[in-house]
Protein backbone atom coordinates (compact mmCIF):
# COMPACT_ATOMS: atom_id res chain seq x y z
CA UNK A 1 0.00 0.00 0.00
CA UNK A 2 1.35 3.38 -0.93
CA UNK A 3 2.35 5.50 2.01
CA UNK A 4 0.65 8.82 2.54
CA UNK A 5 2.59 11.81 1.31
CA UNK A 6 3.02 14.05 4.31
CA UNK A 7 4.94 16.73 2.48
CA UNK A 8 4.32 19.02 -0.48
CA UNK A 9 7.49 20.30 -2.12
CA UNK A 10 7.83 23.38 -4.28
CA UNK A 11 11.09 24.57 -5.82
CA UNK A 12 11.78 28.27 -5.50
CA UNK A 13 15.06 28.96 -7.19
CA UNK A 14 17.62 26.72 -5.53
CA UNK A 15 15.51 26.47 -2.37
CA UNK A 16 12.87 23.81 -1.85
CA UNK A 17 9.84 24.82 0.15
CA UNK A 18 8.44 21.85 2.03
CA UNK A 19 4.96 22.23 3.44
CA UNK A 20 3.53 19.74 5.91
CA UNK A 21 0.11 18.42 4.97
CA UNK A 22 -0.74 17.11 8.44
CA UNK A 23 -2.37 19.39 11.01
CA UNK A 24 -1.12 17.22 13.82
CA UNK A 25 2.45 16.02 13.81
CA UNK A 26 1.79 13.92 16.89
CA UNK A 27 0.89 10.45 15.77
CA UNK A 28 4.02 8.33 16.11
CA UNK A 29 3.48 6.47 12.86
CA UNK A 30 3.03 9.78 11.04
CA UNK A 31 6.16 11.17 12.64
CA UNK A 32 8.15 8.15 11.51
CA UNK A 33 6.93 8.53 7.92
CA UNK A 34 7.46 12.28 7.95
CA UNK A 35 11.00 11.76 9.20
CA UNK A 36 11.68 9.26 6.42
CA UNK A 37 10.22 11.52 3.75
CA UNK A 38 12.25 14.49 4.97
CA UNK A 39 15.43 12.42 5.03
CA UNK A 40 14.71 11.13 1.52
CA UNK A 41 14.55 14.71 0.25
CA UNK A 42 18.15 15.16 1.39
CA UNK A 43 19.59 11.70 0.77
CA UNK A 44 17.81 10.75 -2.45
CA UNK A 45 17.06 14.10 -4.03
CA UNK A 46 19.89 16.16 -2.55
CA UNK A 47 17.60 19.02 -1.60
CA UNK A 48 19.87 20.70 0.90
CA UNK A 49 18.47 24.21 0.81
CA UNK A 50 15.17 23.66 2.48
CA UNK A 51 12.45 25.83 3.93
CA UNK A 52 9.92 24.01 6.10
CA UNK A 53 6.52 25.67 6.06
CA UNK A 54 4.47 24.98 9.17
CA UNK A 55 1.31 26.85 8.18
CA UNK A 56 -0.88 23.74 8.46
CA UNK A 57 0.61 22.43 11.68
CA UNK A 58 -1.60 22.86 14.74
CA UNK A 59 0.02 20.32 17.04
CA UNK A 60 3.57 19.13 17.35
CA UNK A 61 5.10 16.65 19.79
CA UNK A 62 8.63 16.26 21.06
CA UNK A 63 9.15 13.25 18.80
CA UNK A 64 8.55 15.50 15.80
CA UNK A 65 11.14 17.93 17.14
CA UNK A 66 13.57 15.02 17.16
CA UNK A 67 12.99 14.43 13.46
CA UNK A 68 13.63 18.10 12.72
CA UNK A 69 16.89 17.96 14.65
CA UNK A 70 17.99 14.89 12.68
CA UNK A 71 17.08 16.63 9.43
CA UNK A 72 19.00 19.72 10.46
CA UNK A 73 22.10 17.62 11.13
CA UNK A 74 21.87 15.89 7.75
CA UNK A 75 21.52 19.19 5.94
CA UNK A 76 24.43 20.74 7.86
CA UNK A 77 26.58 17.72 6.97
CA UNK A 78 25.90 18.53 3.31
CA UNK A 79 26.76 22.21 3.91
CA UNK A 80 23.14 23.07 3.19
CA UNK A 81 20.69 25.36 4.94
CA UNK A 82 17.44 24.65 6.73
CA UNK A 83 14.98 27.31 7.80
CA UNK A 84 11.44 27.23 9.15
CA UNK A 85 8.54 29.58 8.57
CA UNK A 86 4.86 30.25 9.28
CA UNK A 87 4.96 28.65 12.70
CA UNK A 88 1.80 29.35 14.74
CA UNK A 89 2.35 31.04 18.11
CA UNK A 90 1.44 27.93 20.11
CA UNK A 91 3.87 25.83 18.09
CA UNK A 92 6.55 28.51 18.33
CA UNK A 93 6.18 28.30 22.09
CA UNK A 94 7.16 24.63 21.94
CA UNK A 95 10.35 25.62 20.13
CA UNK A 96 10.96 28.38 22.65
CA UNK A 97 10.42 26.20 25.74
CA UNK A 98 12.88 23.64 24.41
CA UNK A 99 15.27 26.39 23.24
CA UNK A 100 15.14 24.98 19.76
CA UNK A 101 14.33 28.47 18.55
CA UNK A 102 18.07 29.01 19.05
CA UNK A 103 18.93 26.01 16.89
CA UNK A 104 16.50 26.69 14.08
CA UNK A 105 16.03 29.91 12.16
CA UNK A 106 12.30 30.57 12.26
CA UNK A 107 10.68 33.24 10.13
CA UNK A 108 7.19 34.70 9.99
CA UNK A 109 6.55 33.78 6.39
CA UNK A 110 8.07 32.28 3.26
CA UNK A 111 9.24 35.55 1.74
CA UNK A 112 11.17 36.62 4.84
CA UNK A 113 12.77 33.19 5.07
CA UNK A 114 13.66 32.99 1.38
CA UNK A 115 15.35 36.38 1.56
CA UNK A 116 17.80 34.95 4.07
CA UNK A 117 19.05 31.93 2.13
Amino acid sequence: MEKKQHLITEPRGDVTIVTFTDKKILDESNIQEIGEQLNDLVEKHYLVKMLLNFENVEYLSSAALGKLITLNKKIKEENGKLKLCSVRPQIYEVFKITKLNKLFEIYDDEDRALARF
Binding site: L26, D27, E28, S29, Y59, S61, S62, A63, L65, G66, K67, I69, T70, N72, K73, Q90, V94, I97, T98, K99, L100, K102, L103
Partner: protein, 134 residues
Protein backbone atom coordinates in the same frame (compact mmCIF):
# COMPACT_ATOMS: atom_id res chain seq x y z
CA UNK B 1 -13.32 12.43 44.01
CA UNK B 2 -14.20 9.67 41.57
CA UNK B 3 -12.00 9.39 38.52
CA UNK B 4 -12.94 7.81 35.25
CA UNK B 5 -10.60 4.94 34.52
CA UNK B 6 -9.58 2.93 31.52
CA UNK B 7 -6.93 0.40 30.73
CA UNK B 8 -5.36 0.18 27.29
CA UNK B 9 -2.60 -1.92 25.75
CA UNK B 10 0.78 -0.37 25.06
CA UNK B 11 0.18 0.51 21.47
CA UNK B 12 0.61 3.90 19.95
CA UNK B 13 -2.84 3.46 18.40
CA UNK B 14 -4.54 2.85 21.76
CA UNK B 15 -3.32 6.16 23.04
CA UNK B 16 -5.46 7.89 20.41
CA UNK B 17 -8.55 6.45 22.11
CA UNK B 18 -7.31 7.72 25.45
CA UNK B 19 -6.70 11.18 24.08
CA UNK B 20 -10.14 11.27 22.53
CA UNK B 21 -11.84 10.20 25.77
CA UNK B 22 -9.99 12.69 27.91
CA UNK B 23 -10.47 15.57 25.50
CA UNK B 24 -14.15 14.74 25.10
CA UNK B 25 -14.41 14.78 28.89
CA UNK B 26 -12.72 18.16 29.04
CA UNK B 27 -15.04 19.45 26.37
CA UNK B 28 -18.07 18.39 28.40
CA UNK B 29 -16.87 20.46 31.35
CA UNK B 30 -17.40 23.54 29.21
CA UNK B 31 -13.72 24.40 29.25
CA UNK B 32 -12.96 26.01 25.94
CA UNK B 33 -9.60 27.73 26.19
CA UNK B 34 -7.78 26.99 22.95
CA UNK B 35 -4.44 27.48 24.65
CA UNK B 36 -5.46 25.26 27.53
CA UNK B 37 -6.69 22.48 25.30
CA UNK B 38 -3.46 22.64 23.33
CA UNK B 39 -1.58 22.28 26.62
CA UNK B 40 -3.64 19.31 27.76
CA UNK B 41 -3.38 17.57 24.40
CA UNK B 42 0.37 17.99 24.22
CA UNK B 43 1.06 16.99 27.83
CA UNK B 44 -1.20 13.96 27.53
CA UNK B 45 0.44 12.87 24.29
CA UNK B 46 3.91 13.16 25.78
CA UNK B 47 2.84 11.30 28.93
CA UNK B 48 1.22 8.44 27.06
CA UNK B 49 4.13 8.05 24.64
CA UNK B 50 6.53 7.95 27.59
CA UNK B 51 4.44 5.25 29.28
CA UNK B 52 4.22 3.17 26.10
CA UNK B 53 7.73 3.64 24.77
CA UNK B 54 9.85 4.04 27.90
CA UNK B 55 7.70 2.54 30.64
CA UNK B 56 6.33 -0.53 28.92
CA UNK B 57 9.06 -0.65 26.26
CA UNK B 58 6.47 -1.02 23.48
CA UNK B 59 5.51 -4.40 24.94
CA UNK B 60 1.92 -4.77 23.78
CA UNK B 61 1.29 -7.41 26.45
CA UNK B 62 1.66 -4.66 29.04
CA UNK B 63 -1.10 -2.21 29.79
CA UNK B 64 -1.41 1.40 30.75
CA UNK B 65 -3.96 2.49 33.31
CA UNK B 66 -5.39 5.97 32.92
CA UNK B 67 -7.59 7.81 35.37
CA UNK B 68 -9.04 11.26 34.78
CA UNK B 69 -11.54 13.64 36.30
CA UNK B 70 -12.11 17.11 37.66
CA UNK B 71 -11.51 18.07 41.26
CA UNK B 72 -12.22 21.62 42.44
CA UNK B 73 -11.94 23.03 38.91
CA UNK B 74 -8.70 21.19 38.25
CA UNK B 75 -8.28 18.51 35.63
CA UNK B 76 -6.54 15.47 37.06
CA UNK B 77 -4.93 12.86 34.81
CA UNK B 78 -3.06 9.85 36.12
CA UNK B 79 -1.10 7.53 33.86
CA UNK B 80 0.46 4.34 35.14
CA UNK B 81 2.54 1.85 33.18
CA UNK B 82 3.73 -1.65 34.11
CA UNK B 83 7.38 -0.83 33.76
CA UNK B 84 10.21 -0.70 36.23
CA UNK B 85 9.95 3.03 36.74
CA UNK B 86 12.81 5.49 36.48
CA UNK B 87 14.68 8.13 38.42
CA UNK B 88 12.67 11.23 37.61
CA UNK B 89 14.65 13.37 40.04
CA UNK B 90 17.82 13.40 37.95
CA UNK B 91 16.75 14.11 34.45
CA UNK B 92 19.30 15.80 32.23
CA UNK B 93 18.46 19.26 30.96
CA UNK B 94 17.56 18.92 27.28
CA UNK B 95 18.33 22.61 26.72
CA UNK B 96 21.95 22.25 27.82
CA UNK B 97 24.36 23.02 24.97
CA UNK B 98 25.62 19.43 24.81
CA UNK B 99 22.08 18.05 24.65
CA UNK B 100 20.27 20.57 22.50
CA UNK B 101 20.89 18.62 19.32
CA UNK B 102 19.90 15.25 20.73
CA UNK B 103 16.68 13.96 19.16
CA UNK B 104 15.11 12.83 22.46
CA UNK B 105 14.62 13.88 26.06
CA UNK B 106 12.19 16.80 25.88
CA UNK B 107 8.91 15.14 26.81
CA UNK B 108 8.91 15.71 30.56
CA UNK B 109 10.13 19.26 30.17
CA UNK B 110 7.15 19.99 27.96
CA UNK B 111 4.73 18.26 30.34
CA UNK B 112 6.06 20.35 33.25
CA UNK B 113 5.64 23.52 31.26
CA UNK B 114 2.11 22.84 30.11
CA UNK B 115 0.67 21.41 33.32
CA UNK B 116 0.24 23.23 36.60
CA UNK B 117 1.58 20.29 38.55
CA UNK B 118 3.20 16.94 37.82
CA UNK B 119 3.98 14.30 40.43
CA UNK B 120 5.51 10.86 40.03
CA UNK B 121 5.04 8.03 42.47
CA UNK B 122 8.17 6.79 44.21
CA UNK B 123 8.94 4.13 41.63
CA UNK B 124 8.39 6.45 38.69
CA UNK B 125 5.84 4.35 36.80
CA UNK B 126 2.85 6.48 37.67
CA UNK B 127 2.42 10.18 37.06
CA UNK B 128 -0.31 12.58 38.11
CA UNK B 129 -0.90 15.69 36.04
CA UNK B 130 -2.95 18.62 37.24
CA UNK B 131 -4.22 21.55 35.25
CA UNK B 132 -6.51 24.29 36.46
CA UNK B 133 -9.48 24.67 34.15
CA UNK B 134 -11.58 27.35 35.76
Amino acid sequence: MALNTLVVPSTLEARLEVEKRVLDFVDKTGYNSEEGIFSIKLALEETLVNAIRHGNKLDTSKNIRIAYGVDKNHLIIEVEDEGEGFDYSHLPDPTAPDRLELPHGRGIMLIKHYMDDIKFNGKGNRVRLVKRLF
